[in-house]
Symmetry: C2
Subunit: 144 residues, 2 copies
């Protein structure tokens, strides 16, 4: 029950950007910090920008930053935006004869709801303000 790599990287990018308030960060430095390919990250950043979570600027002093106060970005909303689908099982796989009338599906939806409700309680600001995480993020930023 993993989130997609895309969502995972999207959250890492947001955490990096949010730990650099007031400064544009570059694709290059984020890629170096997380050892993720620029190509991969470019798509993630593009998507985050398209959804209005990042503002980007081109040119020499270009880069991107979080578009709004990190305390207003709910982790649950980021997951909703980045995950292609929130389905827990694929009822169209061999199409299941129970689909449309399935107590399992309903139980899984209930569980997913509880999952997302937890993530809605957490903001991006929470993610970058906890002691040990802050330390790590600062170390990343301090890299040459």
């Amino acid at each position: 029950m993993e989130l997609t790599q895309h969502t995972d990287y999207g959250l890492r990018v947001l955490m990096y950007a949010a730990s650099n308030p007031g400064r544009r960060v570059t694709l290059k430095e984020v890629a170096a910090a997380y050892s993720i390919s620029m190509e991969h990250l470019r798509k993630v950043v593009h998507r985050l920008a398209r959804h209005g979570l990042l503002v980007t600027a081109k040119g020499r002093s270009g880069g991107f930053m979080v578009s709004q106060p990190a305390g207003e970005i709910r982790v649950g909303d980021v997951v909703r935006l980045l995950e292609g689908s929130l389905e827990i099982v694929d009822c169209e796989r061999q199409p299941c004869p129970l689909r449309g009338a399935c107590a399992l599906k309903r139980a899984l939806q209930q569980a997913r709801h509880a999952f997302m409700e937890e993530l809605d309680k957490v903001t991006l600001a929470d993610l970058v303000s906890e002691g040990d995480t802050v330390d790590r993020l600062l170390k990343l930023n301090a890299r040459p």
Copy 2:
């Protein structure tokens, strides 16, 4: 954030078996009911048996049935048994420099906990006793 196909099929198999109390069902009929290949299902049934959720019998009147009252089998436990991992993100992917000190990881674990807690409230008996699901399962069983 999908469950694996293995878990999905495992739950479908259990629902089928539990809707046939007191009777051994065969791999062949379950495969036909769900249009899933026997080969695929064989592995799933083997795993469910190994974990003590199904009892199997070989021979002419062989097949398998649920090992205990369906009301005692929690959906959460089935998911724990069948999913290889319950991790929501893979921190070892490009190994993430935040791992071991990551507020995101903790938030996701919290959310997963809420997810599993919901599934622990539901038993296999619940899944096969809801009106519309029962109807569908009975129709599957009635197939030649």
